[in-house]
Symmetry: C2
Subunit: 125 residues, 2 copies
DNA sequence: CAGCATCCCCGTTGATACTG
DNA sequence: CAGTATCAACGGGGATGCTG
Protein backbone atom coordinates (compact mmCIF):
# COMPACT_ATOMS: atom_id res chain seq x y z
CA UNK A 1 0.00 0.00 0.00
CA UNK A 2 1.46 3.24 -1.19
CA UNK A 3 1.03 6.51 0.65
CA UNK A 4 0.85 9.78 -1.25
CA UNK A 5 2.48 12.65 0.61
CA UNK A 6 -0.16 15.37 0.66
CA UNK A 7 2.28 18.26 0.86
CA UNK A 8 4.09 17.23 -2.32
CA UNK A 9 1.65 14.98 -4.13
CA UNK A 10 4.44 12.45 -4.58
CA UNK A 11 4.54 8.87 -3.29
CA UNK A 12 6.22 8.43 0.10
CA UNK A 13 9.72 7.03 -0.42
CA UNK A 14 12.41 7.00 2.25
CA UNK A 15 15.03 6.33 -0.41
CA UNK A 16 14.48 9.77 -1.86
CA UNK A 17 16.64 12.35 -0.12
CA UNK A 18 14.00 15.04 -0.48
CA UNK A 19 11.01 13.04 0.73
CA UNK A 20 9.76 14.22 4.12
CA UNK A 21 9.75 10.60 5.26
CA UNK A 22 13.53 10.67 5.14
CA UNK A 23 13.71 13.38 7.74
CA UNK A 24 11.26 11.57 9.98
CA UNK A 25 13.24 8.36 9.65
CA UNK A 26 16.35 10.27 10.68
CA UNK A 27 14.53 11.55 13.74
CA UNK A 28 13.44 8.06 14.70
CA UNK A 29 16.95 6.80 14.10
CA UNK A 30 18.33 9.44 16.45
CA UNK A 31 20.68 8.27 19.15
CA UNK A 32 18.13 8.67 21.97
CA UNK A 33 14.75 8.50 20.26
CA UNK A 34 14.33 4.75 20.39
CA UNK A 35 15.17 4.55 24.07
CA UNK A 36 12.88 7.41 25.03
CA UNK A 37 9.87 6.20 23.05
CA UNK A 38 10.40 2.69 24.33
CA UNK A 39 10.62 3.93 27.91
CA UNK A 40 7.22 5.59 27.58
CA UNK A 41 5.42 2.44 26.48
CA UNK A 42 4.45 1.57 30.04
CA UNK A 43 2.89 4.97 30.61
CA UNK A 44 3.57 8.48 31.87
CA UNK A 45 7.09 9.44 32.87
CA UNK A 46 8.41 12.63 34.38
CA UNK A 47 11.53 14.36 33.16
CA UNK A 48 13.70 12.98 35.94
CA UNK A 49 12.25 9.50 35.51
CA UNK A 50 13.43 9.51 31.91
CA UNK A 51 16.82 10.94 32.81
CA UNK A 52 17.34 8.11 35.28
CA UNK A 53 15.99 5.40 33.01
CA UNK A 54 17.89 6.34 29.86
CA UNK A 55 21.37 6.03 31.26
CA UNK A 56 24.04 8.19 29.68
CA UNK A 57 21.77 10.86 28.22
CA UNK A 58 22.65 14.46 29.06
CA UNK A 59 20.02 16.98 30.12
CA UNK A 60 20.53 18.83 26.91
CA UNK A 61 19.98 15.87 24.63
CA UNK A 62 17.06 14.61 26.67
CA UNK A 63 15.31 17.96 26.43
CA UNK A 64 16.18 18.38 22.77
CA UNK A 65 14.95 14.93 21.81
CA UNK A 66 11.76 15.31 23.82
CA UNK A 67 10.97 18.58 22.07
CA UNK A 68 11.54 17.01 18.69
CA UNK A 69 9.30 14.08 19.54
CA UNK A 70 6.66 16.53 20.71
CA UNK A 71 6.91 18.52 17.47
CA UNK A 72 6.54 15.33 15.44
CA UNK A 73 3.39 14.53 17.39
CA UNK A 74 4.75 11.42 19.10
CA UNK A 75 4.30 12.58 22.67
CA UNK A 76 2.62 15.21 24.79
CA UNK A 77 4.27 17.41 27.38
CA UNK A 78 2.10 18.39 30.32
CA UNK A 79 3.32 21.04 32.72
CA UNK A 80 1.79 21.06 36.21
CA UNK A 81 2.11 24.56 37.68
CA UNK A 82 3.11 23.33 41.11
CA UNK A 83 6.12 24.00 43.27
CA UNK A 84 8.36 22.24 42.62
CA UNK A 85 7.31 22.01 38.96
CA UNK A 86 6.27 18.72 37.47
CA UNK A 87 6.21 17.76 33.81
CA UNK A 88 4.62 14.60 32.49
CA UNK A 89 5.46 12.99 29.19
CA UNK A 90 3.04 10.62 27.49
CA UNK A 91 2.93 8.95 24.11
CA UNK A 92 0.15 10.13 21.82
CA UNK A 93 -1.87 7.63 19.86
CA UNK A 94 0.56 8.23 17.00
CA UNK A 95 3.47 7.66 19.36
CA UNK A 96 1.99 4.42 20.65
CA UNK A 97 1.63 3.13 17.12
CA UNK A 98 5.32 3.87 16.62
CA UNK A 99 6.25 2.23 19.89
CA UNK A 100 5.39 -1.21 18.53
CA UNK A 101 8.05 -1.31 15.78
CA UNK A 102 10.51 0.38 18.12
CA UNK A 103 10.03 -2.16 20.87
CA UNK A 104 10.52 -4.89 18.27
CA UNK A 105 13.89 -3.38 17.42
CA UNK A 106 14.96 -3.20 21.07
CA UNK A 107 13.85 -6.77 21.65
CA UNK A 108 15.66 -7.95 18.55
CA UNK A 109 18.87 -6.32 19.74
CA UNK A 110 18.66 -7.82 23.20
CA UNK A 111 17.80 -11.23 21.78
CA UNK A 112 20.68 -11.34 19.29
CA UNK A 113 23.47 -9.65 21.20
CA UNK A 114 25.45 -12.86 21.77
CA UNK A 115 25.31 -13.76 18.10
CA UNK A 116 26.50 -10.27 17.18
CA UNK A 117 29.38 -10.35 19.62
CA UNK A 118 30.51 -13.66 18.14
CA UNK A 119 30.40 -12.16 14.66
CA UNK A 120 32.51 -9.26 15.87
CA UNK A 121 35.15 -11.51 17.30
CA UNK A 122 35.37 -13.36 14.01
CA UNK A 123 35.64 -10.03 12.18
CA UNK A 124 38.47 -8.77 14.39
CA UNK A 125 40.69 -11.73 13.60
CA UNK B 1 12.40 -13.65 27.82
CA UNK B 2 15.62 -12.28 29.16
CA UNK B 3 18.96 -12.69 27.42
CA UNK B 4 22.13 -13.02 29.42
CA UNK B 5 25.11 -11.37 27.73
CA UNK B 6 27.78 -14.05 27.67
CA UNK B 7 30.71 -11.66 27.67
CA UNK B 8 29.60 -9.93 30.86
CA UNK B 9 27.26 -12.40 32.52
CA UNK B 10 24.76 -9.57 32.98
CA UNK B 11 21.23 -9.38 31.58
CA UNK B 12 20.94 -7.57 28.24
CA UNK B 13 19.57 -4.06 28.84
CA UNK B 14 19.68 -1.28 26.27
CA UNK B 15 18.95 1.25 29.00
CA UNK B 16 22.34 0.60 30.55
CA UNK B 17 25.02 2.79 28.98
CA UNK B 18 27.66 0.07 29.32
CA UNK B 19 25.64 -2.84 27.93
CA UNK B 20 26.92 -3.99 24.53
CA UNK B 21 23.34 -3.89 23.28
CA UNK B 22 23.48 -0.12 23.56
CA UNK B 23 26.31 0.10 21.06
CA UNK B 24 24.51 -2.21 18.65
CA UNK B 25 21.35 -0.14 18.96
CA UNK B 26 23.39 2.95 18.14
CA UNK B 27 24.74 1.22 15.04
CA UNK B 28 21.24 0.31 13.92
CA UNK B 29 20.13 3.86 14.64
CA UNK B 30 22.87 5.18 12.38
CA UNK B 31 21.80 7.64 9.73
CA UNK B 32 22.19 5.16 6.86
CA UNK B 33 21.91 1.72 8.42
CA UNK B 34 18.16 1.35 8.16
CA UNK B 35 18.09 2.33 4.50
CA UNK B 36 20.93 0.02 3.56
CA UNK B 37 19.62 -3.03 5.38
CA UNK B 38 16.16 -2.40 4.01
CA UNK B 39 17.51 -2.07 0.48
CA UNK B 40 19.08 -5.51 0.75
CA UNK B 41 15.88 -7.30 1.69
CA UNK B 42 15.09 -8.12 -1.93
CA UNK B 43 18.48 -9.74 -2.44
CA UNK B 44 22.03 -9.08 -3.59
CA UNK B 45 23.10 -5.56 -4.41
CA UNK B 46 26.34 -4.24 -5.77
CA UNK B 47 28.11 -1.20 -4.42
CA UNK B 48 26.85 1.10 -7.15
CA UNK B 49 23.34 -0.31 -6.87
CA UNK B 50 23.28 0.76 -3.25
CA UNK B 51 24.79 4.15 -3.98
CA UNK B 52 22.05 4.81 -6.51
CA UNK B 53 19.25 3.44 -4.39
CA UNK B 54 20.11 5.20 -1.13
CA UNK B 55 19.92 8.73 -2.42
CA UNK B 56 22.06 11.31 -0.68
CA UNK B 57 24.64 8.95 0.79
CA UNK B 58 28.29 9.77 0.10
CA UNK B 59 30.81 7.14 -0.97
CA UNK B 60 32.55 7.51 2.32
CA UNK B 61 29.50 6.93 4.48
CA UNK B 62 28.26 4.11 2.29
CA UNK B 63 31.56 2.27 2.59
CA UNK B 64 31.88 3.01 6.27
CA UNK B 65 28.36 1.82 7.08
CA UNK B 66 28.77 -1.31 4.96
CA UNK B 67 31.95 -2.22 6.81
CA UNK B 68 30.28 -1.73 10.14
CA UNK B 69 27.34 -3.89 9.12
CA UNK B 70 29.78 -6.53 7.94
CA UNK B 71 31.65 -6.43 11.25
CA UNK B 72 28.39 -6.81 13.16
CA UNK B 73 27.60 -9.88 11.06
CA UNK B 74 24.57 -8.39 9.31
CA UNK B 75 25.85 -8.75 5.78
CA UNK B 76 28.52 -10.41 3.68
CA UNK B 77 30.83 -8.72 1.23
CA UNK B 78 31.84 -10.83 -1.75
CA UNK B 79 34.60 -9.61 -4.03
CA UNK B 80 34.67 -11.03 -7.56
CA UNK B 81 38.22 -10.81 -8.92
CA UNK B 82 37.12 -9.66 -12.33
CA UNK B 83 37.95 -6.61 -14.37
CA UNK B 84 36.26 -4.33 -13.70
CA UNK B 85 35.87 -5.47 -10.08
CA UNK B 86 32.51 -6.43 -8.74
CA UNK B 87 31.42 -6.58 -5.12
CA UNK B 88 28.18 -8.14 -3.95
CA UNK B 89 26.48 -7.37 -0.68
CA UNK B 90 24.02 -9.81 0.85
CA UNK B 91 22.24 -10.00 4.16
CA UNK B 92 23.29 -12.87 6.39
CA UNK B 93 20.68 -14.90 8.21
CA UNK B 94 21.23 -12.59 11.16
CA UNK B 95 20.80 -9.60 8.90
CA UNK B 96 17.59 -10.95 7.43
CA UNK B 97 16.17 -11.41 10.90
CA UNK B 98 16.96 -7.76 11.58
CA UNK B 99 15.45 -6.68 8.29
CA UNK B 100 11.95 -7.53 9.50
CA UNK B 101 11.80 -4.98 12.33
CA UNK B 102 13.61 -2.47 10.14
CA UNK B 103 11.15 -2.80 7.28
CA UNK B 104 8.35 -2.36 9.79
CA UNK B 105 9.88 0.95 10.82
CA UNK B 106 10.21 2.14 7.22
CA UNK B 107 6.64 1.12 6.47
CA UNK B 108 5.38 2.85 9.58
CA UNK B 109 7.09 6.06 8.56
CA UNK B 110 5.73 5.99 5.04
CA UNK B 111 2.25 5.15 6.30
CA UNK B 112 2.10 7.94 8.89
CA UNK B 113 3.89 10.76 7.13
CA UNK B 114 0.76 12.81 6.52
CA UNK B 115 -0.29 12.56 10.16
CA UNK B 116 3.20 13.66 11.23
CA UNK B 117 3.26 16.64 8.90
CA UNK B 118 -0.08 17.77 10.29
CA UNK B 119 1.28 17.52 13.83
CA UNK B 120 4.27 19.59 12.79
CA UNK B 121 2.12 22.34 11.35
CA UNK B 122 0.15 22.49 14.59
CA UNK B 123 3.43 22.64 16.55
CA UNK B 124 4.82 25.50 14.49
CA UNK B 125 1.86 27.77 15.22
C1' DC C 1 33.85 -0.55 -10.76
C1' DA C 2 34.64 -0.03 -6.09
C1' DG C 3 36.90 1.71 -3.41
C1' DC C 4 40.80 4.46 -0.24
C1' DA C 5 43.15 8.84 1.38
C1' DT C 6 43.11 13.37 2.65
C1' DC C 7 41.47 17.73 4.02
C1' DC C 8 38.38 20.28 6.52
C1' DC C 9 34.05 22.17 8.11
C1' DC C 10 30.35 22.57 11.10
C1' DG C 11 26.63 20.30 13.53
C1' DT C 12 25.98 17.32 17.24
C1' DT C 13 27.06 16.36 21.74
C1' DG C 14 28.82 16.92 26.39
C1' DA C 15 30.21 19.69 30.61
C1' DT C 16 29.37 23.25 33.42
C1' DA C 17 26.92 26.89 35.47
C1' DC C 18 22.77 29.18 36.35
C1' DT C 19 17.32 29.83 37.18
C1' DG C 20 12.03 30.16 37.86
C1' DC D 1 12.18 19.79 39.71
C1' DA D 2 12.84 20.80 35.16
C1' DG D 3 14.79 22.97 32.71
C1' DT D 4 17.98 27.18 29.97
C1' DA D 5 22.43 29.23 28.57
C1' DT D 6 26.97 29.08 27.19
C1' DC D 7 31.19 27.26 25.82
C1' DA D 8 34.31 23.76 24.17
C1' DA D 9 35.41 19.50 21.82
C1' DC D 10 34.70 15.70 19.02
C1' DG D 11 33.68 13.29 15.18
C1' DG D 12 30.27 12.69 11.60
C1' DG D 13 30.14 13.66 7.12
C1' DG D 14 31.03 16.01 2.51
C1' DA D 15 34.29 17.32 -1.34
C1' DT D 16 37.99 16.19 -3.92
C1' DG D 17 41.51 13.50 -5.96
C1' DC D 18 43.70 9.11 -6.76
C1' DT D 19 44.07 3.77 -7.69
C1' DG D 20 44.06 -1.52 -8.48
Amino acid sequence: MRTIVESSGLPADVYSAECPTRQVLNHIAGKWTILIVDALIDGTMRYTDLARRVQGVSQKMLTQTLRQLEADGFLTRTVHPTIPPRVDYDLTELGRSLAGPIAALREWTEAHINEIEKARQRASK
